[in-house]
């Protein structure tokens, strides 16, 4: 009827991050361990069901248990599972501990908004401008500090973004409304985007191509469509793409400098004076 395999390991989407292979290896270890225990128990169960079924002349024995056996089958899983826990902790540290985050080659901000992903690049100066929730409004999702010059040239993208391959990218992750979750299946990484907090995630993709970024935390009726596309590019291609973005941003800034009025005020701006008022009163 369709391509179906009972072997779970065949279902992984292709892994393309520096730790996807280690992740899949760990998964494989737990998987085969589980398959072994699963078969051991199920076969024992079925054997006992068959051998000790009720039939004429068959009798059960009077037996309440055995402490040596209890001790052995308490100790064995303790050693096995505690060992597994300690073993896995190393990979957990690599993925999560802030002290283990490698030197970033690049830092970006990502915020979730129902039902879109927005990404901020540092722009021409290579530095992300300061941000604070008090500056946040529908026009300034990242809450970029208007008084910080580094923020002026920052580039914001929605729904699609590019990253260079073989670079340690540190993502500062947050949300402007409800919880979202930043899920890159091919990178084997997922992290909740929590409004009010900035959480660091890092990854390093090793293959160019287009990959999907999904939202994995229920965020409302449009949750299912909160999808973005990540273009992984070679260094040269990424630099070329980034140069184009920087040039375009410079043109916009120059136009704004020449004419202090915004070029084309978005229609939503008039609808949200309250937000602006809050922003400026702090």
């Amino acid at each position: 009827m369709f391509d179906f395999s009972w072997n779970m390991l065949t279902y992984f989407p292709p892994g393309i991050s520096t730790y996807s292979e280690a992740h899949d290896d760990l998964f494989r270890l737990v998987y085969w361990l589980s398959v072994a225990i699963f078969l051991l128990v199920q076969i024992t169960l079925v054997t006992f069901i068959f051998r000790y079924r009720n039939r004429p002349g068959h009798k059960s024995i009077y037996y309440h248990g055995n402490n040596v056996v209890e001790f052995v089958w308490t100790l064995a899983p303790t050693v096995l599972f505690a060992g597994l826990g300690l073993y896995s902790d190393e990979m957990w540290k690599v993925m999560k501990y802030s002290s283990r985050i490698p030197t970033p080659d690049m830092e970006i901000d990502v915020v979730g908004q129902a039902f879109n992903w927005h990404v901020r690049y540092p722009g021409a100066d290579g530095i992300l401008g300061k941000r604070h929730a008090r500056y946040r409004s529908a026009q300034n999702l990242f809450g970029i500090d208007p008084t910080d010059a580094h923020g002026k040239d920052d580039i914001v993208m929605t729904g699609e973004f590019n990253l260079p391959i073989n670079k340690n990218v540190v993502v500062h992750l947050s949300s402007v409304d409800v919880l979202h979750s930043y899920f890159l299946p091919n990178f084997r990484i997922k992290q909740d985007a929590v409004p009010g907090s900035w959480i660091e995630v890092w990854h390093n993709g090793t293959k160019s191509g287009k990959y999907e970024l999904a939202c994995a935390e229920l965020c409302g009726s449009g949750h299912y469509a909160m999808r973005a596309v990540l273009n992984m590019q070679s260094d040269a291609d990424f630099a070329k793409w980034m140069d184009g973005k920087i040039t375009a941003k410079k043109a916009v800034l120059a136009a704004e400098a020449a004419n202090p009025q915004p070029v084309a005020p978005p229609p939503a701006e008039a609808a949200a004076p309250e937000g602006e008022h809050h922003g400026s009163s702090h």
Binding site: F2, L9, F12, L26, F27, L33, S34, F38, V41, Q42, L45, F48, Y52, N54, K59, S60, I61, Y62, Y63, H64, G65, E70, W73, T74, T78, A82, G85, L86, W92, M95, Y97, S98, Q113, A114, A133, R134, A138, V176, D177, L179, S181, P185, I189, Q191, D192, V194, S197, A214, L218, G220, S221, G222, Y224, A225, R227, A268, A271, E274, G275, H282
Partner: protein, 612 residues
């Protein structure tokens, strides 16, 4: 100690007198007092059972709508689609908003109104007084209130379907900020608060009853494992549920007064304005959404054990009775239940590996969680030890108990994957989790509940159920269950997120549509298989063979009472002389030896008991 003993004896005599008094007063009890606002633990157990069965059908229907949408997105729901209002469906097909309501209500109904009321409400009420040989609960009126809170809470939550904006739609975990606005979410919070109170009142009662009202001669270690499991579950209910109640109260304050407890500073609403919140006032203020997750999971992880522990007790009793053999390692089983309950309180963080909490905490929770596999393994091994060299009878009750072991092993092992932090990062919020929870709560809890319902049906209603239908129901359910839920592991490994209305928006999920259709076919088959159970239970009520006192030749005290027992339960004095699992004992010529039979008169008294 002497004083306690005297009081105990006194209570026992009083019980006996009271049961006579009740016989005389029997006719004067009005219909309403007898069947509706009853304080009799058996009636309350039946009320819990029937209410939960009703909600099982409701929750099951929700699940089938979900499955239909995942298999055939955008196509009209067969049969019922055209009857649903336009706010929920368009041209008979599920709308995205309705879909999120469905996933929320399916889980809410199944957890708070099916599994918990059945596992604790129905079984604790029916089993505890009968299995410890007493006339009723310690606090019968509180017991009645504990039941009546459930339908009130259920109606409150269901009424969300009729308010503007629809019912709760933030998942059963109800994470703010998403859940911090909307009438449907307020009703949900009130409903869960009420059903939580039912749990607290019930738990108190079960604790008081087990500690104070055991029959003469019954030590704690003479109690059947069902009672032990329910006793320890009650501790979880009494300690855990108040935390849930406090979380609900805090969220309510956020919803109504915009206090900003869980709402950080300057959140945007969909129309671009700022979310009203006390946290907006003053620079740098702000609530913390992750606080909700801590409070919620501090209750809801132990709640997983509230759902599974009673059933582990039931399965132990059913297995021992039908294997005609003592529980292997009775004390080890009791200590394993205690260990699971204790560890249950220190592992809630494994639901929050991705919440942004300190990764150092992640390490701690990973290790504590993985250690739960140890007492769980002990239980599995002891069950296998129990049927080893037994004489296994394949009644419907026992088939469900054996099915429980088989599926619980699978659910337990998939739990190890998510206990391992780095793997959880990937499979968190995917169908792997959905597969796991259903292997534990359907394959585990519900098979155990079926086992218990079949096992105690004769005592509950005084009639035997139909074995052929019972076996048919078990095999159909067991096969369709595995074909429905096992493939969910696969698409979970493929990265298929949960709670998504249309997975095929994503390129990488498009190949999984045939698997989703496969799952849906067996989900529908499994859903309709449950009609056999309901038919069997109802049909046997009228046409079933009259049940003898002890149809399974079991050892525990409930089988000393008439089938079914009147108000006051026992028509004789009950004294306990031995443990609950004396099967194939050399003391008796038969393969069982009930707890209440006097040691010097084993043959004579067992013969008399069998004639009843």
């Amino acid at each position: 100690m002497a004083a306690v003993a005297t009081q105990h004896d006194h209570a026992h005599v009083a019980t006996h007198d009271e049961s006579h008094a009740h016989d005389h007063a029997h006719h004067s009890v009005s219909f309403i007092r007898k069947y509706i606002f009853s304080t009799d633990h058996k009636t309350i157990a039946k009320q819990f059972l029937t209410t939960s069965m009703f909600f099982l059908l409701v929750g099951g229907a929700f699940a089938l709508f979900i499955r239909w949408q995942l298999a055939y997105p955008g196509e009209p729901i067969p049969l019922v689609g055209k009857w649903l209002p336009d706010t929920l469906v368009s041209n008979g097909a599920v709308q995205p908003g309705f879909y999120t309501q469905l996933v929320t209500m399916h889980a809410t109904v199944m957890i708070f109104f099916v599994i918990i009321p059945m596992a604790t409400g129905a079984f604790a009420n029916f089993c505890i007084p009968l299995m410890i040989g007493t006339d009723d609960m310690a606090m019968p009126t509180i017991n009645m209130i504990s039941f009546w809170l459930v339908p009130v809470a259920g109606l409150t939550i269901m009424s969300g379907f009729f308010v503007e904006g629809g019912t709760a739609a933030a998942g059963w975990t109800n994470y703010p900020p998403l859940s911090a606005s909307g009438t449907g979410h307020m009703l949900w919070v009130i409903g869960v608060f009420l059903v939580g109170f039912s749990s607290i009142l019930g738990g108190m009662n079960y604790l008081a009853t087990t500690l104070n009202k055991r029959a003469k001669g019954m030590r704690m270690f003479d109690m059947p494992l069902t009672v032990w499991a329910l006793f320890i579950t009650s501790v979880l209910q009494v300690l855990g549920t108040p935390v849930l109640a406090s979380a609900m109260s805090l969220l309510f304050v956020d919803q109504v007064f915009h206090a900003g407890i869980f709402i950080p500073e300057n959140l945007l609403t969909p129309n671009g304005g700022l979310y009203p919140s006390g946290a907006n006032v003053g620079a740098g203020g702000g609530g913390q959404p992750v606080l909700w997750q801590h409070l919620f999971w501090f209750y809801s992880h132990p709640a997983v054990y509230i759902m599974i522990l009673p059933v582990m007790g039931v399965v132990s009793d059913v297995l021992a009775t039908f294997a005609r053999k003592a529980i292997f390692g009775y004390k080890a089983m009791v200590f394993a239940i205690m260990a699971i309950a204790f560890l249950g309180f220190v592992v809630w963080g494994h639901h929050m590996f991705l919440s942004g909490m300190s990764p150092l905490l992640g390490t701690t929770f990973m290790l504590s969680t993985i250690v739960i596999a140890v007492p769980s393994s002990i239980k599995i091994f002891n069950w296998l030890g129990t049927i080893w060299k037994g004489n296994i009878h394949f009644t419907s009750a026992n088939l469900n108990a054996l099915g429980f072991i088989s599926t619980f092993v699978c659910g337990g092992l998939s739990g190890v994957f998510m206990a391992v932090g780095p793997i959880d990062v990937y499979i968190h919020d995917t169908y792997f989790i959905v597969a796991h929870i259903h292997y534990v709560l359907f394959g585990g809890a519900l098979f155990g509940i079926f086992a218990g319902v079949y096992y105690w049906y004769p005592k509950m209603f005084g009639k035997m159920y139909n074995e052929t239908l019972g076996k048919f129901h078990f095999f159909l359910t067991f096969i369709t269950f595995n074909l429905c839920f096992f493939p969910m592991h696969m698409i979970g490994v493929g990265g298929h997120m949960r709670r998504i209305y249309d997975p095929y928006v994503y390129e990488f999920l498009k190949p999984f549509q045939p698997i989703n259709q496969f799952i849906t076919i067996f989900a529908i088959a499994m859903g309709f298989s449950q009609l056999i159970l309901i038919f069997n239970l109802l049909w046997s009520l009228k046409f079933g063979r009259k049940a003898p006192r002890n149809p399974w030749r079991a050892n525990t005290l409930e089988w000393a009472a008439p089938s079914h027992p009147g108000h006051g339960n026992f028509d004789r004095d009950i004294t306990v002389y031995r443990g609950p699992y004396e099967f194939a004992s050399p003391e008796s010529k038969r393969d069982y030896l009930p707890q209440w039979i006097r040691p010097a008169h084993v043959e004579q008294e067992t013969t008399i008991a069998e004639k009843h």
